[in-house]
């Protein structure tokens, strides 16, 4: 059969349900194979939308997302989603067309060195050189994308090779001698960690996206509640530990709660699970958690001691390691009373500094209230995606995610325009769930074209734009750190989002009154098909609390 028909077979064998993509010259053969390929393909309006949709699909399910693009500009349009997937460890396979082999290296029409351009931001990539390599490359790509620390894998297929006839036989073995992720965790180290936890007077569990990736939320909850360990999660880990919960401190980091950040600051032992000590967490590294010893559990050995030296390093995935840690910890029968003083201290912070905002005295919608209203309108049960900016931080702070894979956002790269296409991917993955996007008025315009895709495919995402008429997060930094001089942050009145929605074949709405907001949101959610809502909120509200960049947790403001 043709190599491209084999690609279809490989994708089906990998359990792929849907591909997001957009055709062009170099992948015309591939698109011909879709005609009778037996796979669902969703035609996006921009490859970046397709890439982020594949990420949203992957984040909502844990399965590998798939995005296709043609050579040259199609492939370069994928760079942002590829990089985003790398930073947030999202399993996505990207398959790009390439010019014919005889044109390679000649600056042929729509030739771009896709392998070269993407090399720094992929987990791995395959440049196909012989057509019979294609099936194996596809399977290896899926294996690499989903195993170990997940990430993006790219397969670049020259057009002539994709058309070639090959003897297709299902691939059952993988030949990756240099790739053997370790997931189990060293038993001796795990025992050492259990002992350290039993000895700790002021422990904190600091959990990240790795817990979500490893499907280890149950193990985390069970371990944390086997004693009264306080738990905080990173932006990527939200939902891995249920909020609210007696042991939940809230998110930590730049816009985390004081309880979480102060607990890290005073802890004597921090147990990091699937988290990577990003600068948005540590602030000033030299003053980060100065009294703490560190247990660091991560499936990627290179993360351990990269930023903060670990005292007990454990290479393994959160699911395996936490299960074993629980057994070891239970066997020690630690004295729970030793944590009483610590909890008194934490309760003090919780009472004194709860997450709070000054609500309006009229009908004005405060952005924080908008998130609370969405929580109420959805019963806290929606999958929520977001863009990047103030609205993202408020969504993270105020939605209270009860389960993992409910919160889908761009953390590491901070990609504006992520939310809408990611919601599209999540909605395709989870047709029975309500999928909402809390978007920024600036960000949403970076991938608004996918509303047309949603309208055409009847993908019923509900996009709530937190419209402050500003690139709000940048405005906030200019206000706080650049003498209040605003430079190019005002987005003003354009576009008219209701009209834009209608032009794309979606339903447009505008909400401006807080007293009816919950009801209005319910109405939007009940409206069939894609809905884009322009929610007018306070224009110059700041996201607090905040650790100014490069400062220590103690220096939190607001």
């Amino acid at each position: 059969m043709r190599a491209v028909d084999a690609v279809m077979e490989c994708l089906k064998a990998e359990g792929v349900e849907v591909v997001f993509g957009l055709p062009g010259g170099a992948n015309l053969p591939t698109y011909d194979a879709f005609v009778n390929g037996g796979l669902r393909h969703i035609l996006v309006r921009h490859e970046a939308g397709g890439g982020h949709a594949a990420e949203g699909y992957a984040k909502a399910t844990g399965k590998v997302g798939v995005a296709f693009a043609t050579s040259g500009p199609g492939a370069t349009n994928l760079i942002t989603p590829i990089c985003d997937a790398m930073m947030d460890s999202v399993p996505v396979v990207f398959i790009t067309g390439q010019v014919r082999t005889e044109l390679l290296g000649t600056d042929g029409f729509q030739e771009a060195d896709t392998i070269g351009i993407t090399m720094p931001v992929v987990k791995h990539s395959f440049m196909i050189q012989r057509p019979q390599e294609i099936p194996r490359a596809i399977h290896e790509a899926f294996h690499i994308a989903r195993s170990g620390r997940p990430g993006p894998v790219l397969v670049d297929i020259p057009q002539d090779l994709s058309r070639a006839e090959i003897d297709y036989e299902p691939v059952t073995d993988l030949r990756l001698p240099g790739y053997q992720p370790r997931v189990e965790g060293n038993q001796k180290q795990i025992r050492q960690a259990a002992k350290a936890l039993a000895a700790a007077q002021r422990p904190v569990i600091y959990a990240g996206g790795g817990v979500v990736n490893a499907e280890a939320s149950d193990e985390l909850v069970e371990f944390a509640t086997s004693d009264r360990f306080p738990v905080t999660c990173t932006l990527m880990g939200l939902g891995a530990f249920p909020a609210p919960h007696a042991q939940w401190l809230g998110m930590l980091g730049m816009h985390g709660t004081r309880a979480a950040n102060y607990a890290m600051d005073e802890a004597d032992l921090i147990c990091a699970v699937g988290a990577r000590f990003d600068d948005r967490i540590t602030g000033k590294l030299s003053e980060f958690a100065p009294r703490a010893k560190f247990i660091h559990i991560d499936v990627d050995p290179a993360e351990i001691s990269k930023n903060v030296p670990a005292h007990i390093p454990i290479v393994g995935d959160a699911k395996h390691v936490l299960a074993k840690l629980l057994i070891e910890y239970r066997a020690i029968a630690a004295e729970p009373e030793r944590l009483a003083a610590w909890w008194t201290r934490i309760e003090g912070w919780r009472e004194k500094y709860p997450l709070a905002f000054q609500d309006s005295s009229d009908n004005e919608i405060k952005p924080q209230y908008m998130v609370q209203a969405l929580h109420e309108a959805t019963g806290g049960e929606a999958i929520v995606t977001s863009d990047v900016g103030q609205h993202q931080m408020w969504a993270a702070q105020y939605y209270d995610f009860p389960k993992p894979r409910r919160w889908i956002n761009s953390g590491g790269l901070g990609t504006m325009g992520f939310g809408l296409p990611a919601a599209m991917g999540a909605a395709v993955a989870c047709p029975d769930r309500i999928v909402c996007c809390i978007a920024g008025d600036g960000s949403v315009q970076m991938n608004a074209q996918e509303l047309a895709t949603c309208a055409q495919e009847q993908i019923p995402i509900k996009v709530f734009i937190m419209n402050n008429g500003y690139l709000g997060m940048v405005r906030q930094w200019q206000e706080l750190f650049w003498d209040g001089k605003y430079s190019h942050v005002e987005t003003g009145e354009f576009p008219d989002f209701v009209k834009l929605a209608e032009a794309y074949g979606a339903t447009g709405m505008r909400f401006e009154d807080k007293t009816t907001l919950v009801q209005d949101m319910k109405r939007a959610i009940e409206t069939p098909g894609p809905v884009l809502v322009d929610v007018r909120v306070t224009r110059e509200e700041n996201t607090y609390p905040m650790i100014p960049a490069g400062q220590a947790a103690r220096e939190m403001v607001g």
Partner: protein, 185 residues
């Protein structure tokens, strides 16, 4: 290793951070890689992106034509070697990395020196070459080419010696290294 719960309580004070950040010496990394297109670019790109400097780099075939060997020297005073090797290991085509112990390693580099030397100086230059077990591989009226093999230090010492004659050009291959004893590098 015994049963869970073995009582031997631990004090947090005892815990030491596991990794040293800087070793302060030169490291020779011997890396086996799959012989696939782009492997060297992946390695070089990784070093550039993470801000690690490569001091020398050599690539060559091994007795297995599917596998090549990259020998790379890095300054452990500037870079956390542990982080360098862990990042290298993440490359799918990297099969094996050995951070060679200087005492258990034979390392060699080949260098060619083109030195200006007329009739009067030639004799002295050849004597120096002999002391360094170098070979004169080309002689013209006004220049001599000397081939020297040895450790990086030896080659540097030879360079110091011939510089006063007028060093026209020098070429060095970068080190290759092999572990002593019976076991494979």
């Amino acid at each position: 290793m015994g049963e869970p719960g073995t009582k031997e309580p631990l004090s947090l004070e005892e815990l030491e951070a596991s990794t040293n950040m800087r070793t302060g010496r030169k490291h020779v990394l011997s890396i086996l890689v799959e012989n696939k297109s782009g492997v060297l670019t992946r390695i070089a790109g990784l070093f550039a992106r993470r801000g690690f400097n490569i001091d020398t780099l050599t690539v060559g075939p091994t007795d297995d034509d599917q596998v090549s060997r990259v020998t790379l020297t890095v300054d452990g005073a500037l870079h956390p070697i542990d982080q360098v090797t862990k990042q290298l290991h993440k490359l799918i085509n990297v099969l094996k990395i050995r951070d060679l112990e200087p005492a258990d390693t034979v390392a060699r580099e080949l260098a060619l020196f083109k030195v200006s030397a007329d009739g009067t100086q030639r004799g002295e230059l050849m004597q120096i070459a002999e002391i360094f077990r170098g070979k004169v591989v080309d002689v013209t009226k006004r220049a001599v080419i000397v081939e020297v093999t040895g450790t990086t230090d030896k080659i540097a010492a030879f360079e110091d010696m011939v510089r006063p004659f007028g060093l026209i050009e020098m070429m060095r291959t970068g080190e290759i290294a092999i572990s002593r004893g019976r076991s494979e590098t």
